[in-house]
């Protein structure tokens, strides 16, 4: 098994086998988190560009840590300081970053599809660190790794996703990933936060929406909490008190789930709003394991996309989408790169 894409833009197009491969490849990096010396030289001399057009603390630090533990250097572009504020287009910013010759671009953007769009125009691997309300693939992977470690499997689980689903790329990545392994989903939140069309995003995956938390938690193996995204509320809103009353996950409500149900939260948590401190810090909570696993998953992603990268890619001089794809096709069909003679017994 291997990973056949040059980028990591979404989990939806990946097969279950490819996802299992990505999770398996994260294991050695989980081990490295436990070493007294955590720095490798595997990507020494490589540069990872981190472009966060939307604010992020945890994901950016996690990718930054992953890159530096692999021995790579990073370039950082952040929303406030970027020339986007001065009117530069996304593509121009990407071309300018690329002109500094990084070996990989990790980007977060407030528009759905932004990473995909940039990837079509660049010759380096692009990792989507969250694009609008579309996907957040590394979060989906780290959640799956956390569940697999605790439960031993990610197959055929009852997964409840709780909170603001309408704005959540985390929910979408979770559904696409766990859905490939036969998991069943219950989505729950205030009606205006649980869009009907979510039930259709992964054909073949059973997804239902309920509006009562007690019902949603019944028989759950995994509960994925979503943050109440105050900065994204444009129209319909709900008061904090109403939310606490109707949807807060507390110890009493958690009893309705299976006794060994896991509680995940992508962070940052609003303690006392969507989750009570005793649940957040309780034995069923995995929130800090998620953070640790995040670094491991991102090391695996960067390792797979950057370490094996060979100098066989066409020049970056043709930034037109259809040319780019035509070249890819030509490459696949009849232009195998020079094989490198392998020295055995080394």
């Amino acid at each position: 098994m291997s990973y056949r894409f040059r980028d990591l833009l979404a989990l939806e197009p990946l097969s279950a086998a490819e996802i299992s491969f990505l999770l398996d490849q994260s294991k050695p990096f989980q081990e490295i988190q436990r070493h007294p010396l955590k720095k490798l030289a595997t990507l020494r001399g490589k540069t990872v560009a981190l472009a966060f057009f939307e604010n992020s603390t945890r994901t950016r630090i996690s990718f930054n840590t992953a890159a530096s533990r692999l021995g790579a250097d990073t370039m950082n572009l952040q929303a406030e300081a970027s020339s986007l504020k001065k009117g530069e287009t996304l593509l121009d910013t990407a071309f300018n970053l690329n002109a500094m010759k990084p070996d990989c671009l990790v980007m977060r953007h407030f528009s759905s599809g932004a990473a995909d769009y940039v990837a079509r125009h660049l010759d380096i691997p692009v990792v989507n660190a969250g694009d609008g309300t579309h996907e957040h693939p590394s979060q989906g992977l780290l959640d799956a790794l956390t569940i697999r470690d605790r439960k031993g499997t990610i197959e055929n689980l009852n997964v409840t996703i709780l909170g603001d689903l309408s704005h959540s790329r985390v929910a979408r990545s979770n559904i696409h990933l766990l859905g490939k392994f036969g998991c069943r989903f219950t989505l729950c939140g205030p009606a205006m936060w649980v869009p009907q069309e979510l039930e259709e995003i992964a054909p073949g995956t059973p997804i239902r929406s309920v509006y009562k938390i007690e019902e949603a938690l019944e028989d759950a193996d995994v509960i994925i909490m979503l943050r109440v995204q105050t900065e994204r509320q444009h129209e319909a809103s709900i008061s904090a008190n109403d939310y606490i009353h109707g949807y807060q996950l507390n110890a009493e409500r958690l009893k309705r789930a299976k006794p060994d149900a896991l509680v995940l939260h992508p962070g940052p948590m609003n303690r006392g709003i969507e989750i009570t401190p005793d649940v957040a810090d309780g034995p069923q909570s995995c929130v800090l394991e998620q953070v640790t696993n995040g670094v491991a998953v991102r090391m695996a992603i960067l390792y797979l996309l950057v370490a094996g990268e060979q100098a066989t890619h066409p020049a970056a001089s043709e930034p037109v989408a259809h040319n780019r794809r035509a070249t890819d096709r030509a490459q696949q069909n009849n232009e195998p790169p020079e094989p490198v003679p392998q020295k055995r017994n080394s």
Binding site: S2, R4, P28, I32, L37, K39, D116, A307, P336, N345
Partner: protein, 205 residues
């Protein structure tokens, strides 16, 4: 809201799929060791290690993936017969520490390293099947020292075939074999290969 992208149109594939190697024939030249010889050699090496280390206290074996792992386990078993003590055995995957990652096939698949003991202050013996350029051992030592500071590290190999590219020597050697550059030594072990012997093969283009 529920956005769909035409992933098939935009997905870019790596070159990994299309690697093709030139046709090459592998010819077996001769057998270097039989199953019984491998067994006797490992027994002898186990005795040497215990003798030189002055017992099995502080001693641990680290098998280098893949074929160093079953070899290390067998040596530990032999030591049990000598000293009646279970010597700890660890497993090391050196992929992340290689100096030629971008030159070999893209996406070298990672395996776990399992070293379930503290290496600090230990007498470690690295175990591998064939010692050739020495690069694997250099990588293994880099990996090892990320775990702590062992008191001593020595090297045990079943076959030393020469052609070193690094200042690395083995302290415990099963057999020294003179080879040419095009020859390959294949150590086949029942745990991995379902047969048990060491053969010398040659590449013919």
């Amino acid at each position: 809201m529920a956005l769909k992208f035409s992933n098939s149109a935009s997905a870019r594939f790596t070159g990994a799929l299309m690697l093709e190697f030139r046709p090459m024939r592998i010819v077996e030249k001769r057998q270097l060791m039989s199953a019984a010889e491998i067994d006797r050699t490992l027994q002898r090496v186990a005795h040497e290690i215990v003798e030189k280390s002055g017992g099995t206290k502080h001693l641990a074996l680290i098998g280098i993936r893949r074929r160093g792992v079953p070899l290390a386990k067998r040596i530990a078993q032999a030591m049990r017969g000598i000293d009646g003590v279970d010597v700890p055995v660890g497993t090391l995957d050196i992929t992340l520490y290689r100096d030629d990652l971008s030159k070999v096939a893209p996406q070298a698949v990672l395996q776990s390293s399992e070293i379930p003991f503290e290496v600090e202050g230990m007498d470690l013996v690295l175990v591998d099947d064939v010692l050739y350029t020495g690069r694997t051992i250099r990588a293994a030592m880099n990996g090892l020292f990320d775990l702590g500071r062992p008191r001593r590290v020595s090297l045990c190999v079943l076959i030393d075939r020469g052609h070193r590219e690094m200042p690395i020597e083995a302290q415990y050697i099963g057999r020294v074999v003179q080879t040419s550059d095009t020859e390959i030594i294949e150590v086949r072990l029942r745990e991995i290969d379902n047969e048990e012997r060491v053969v010398l093969v040659d590449r013919v283009e």
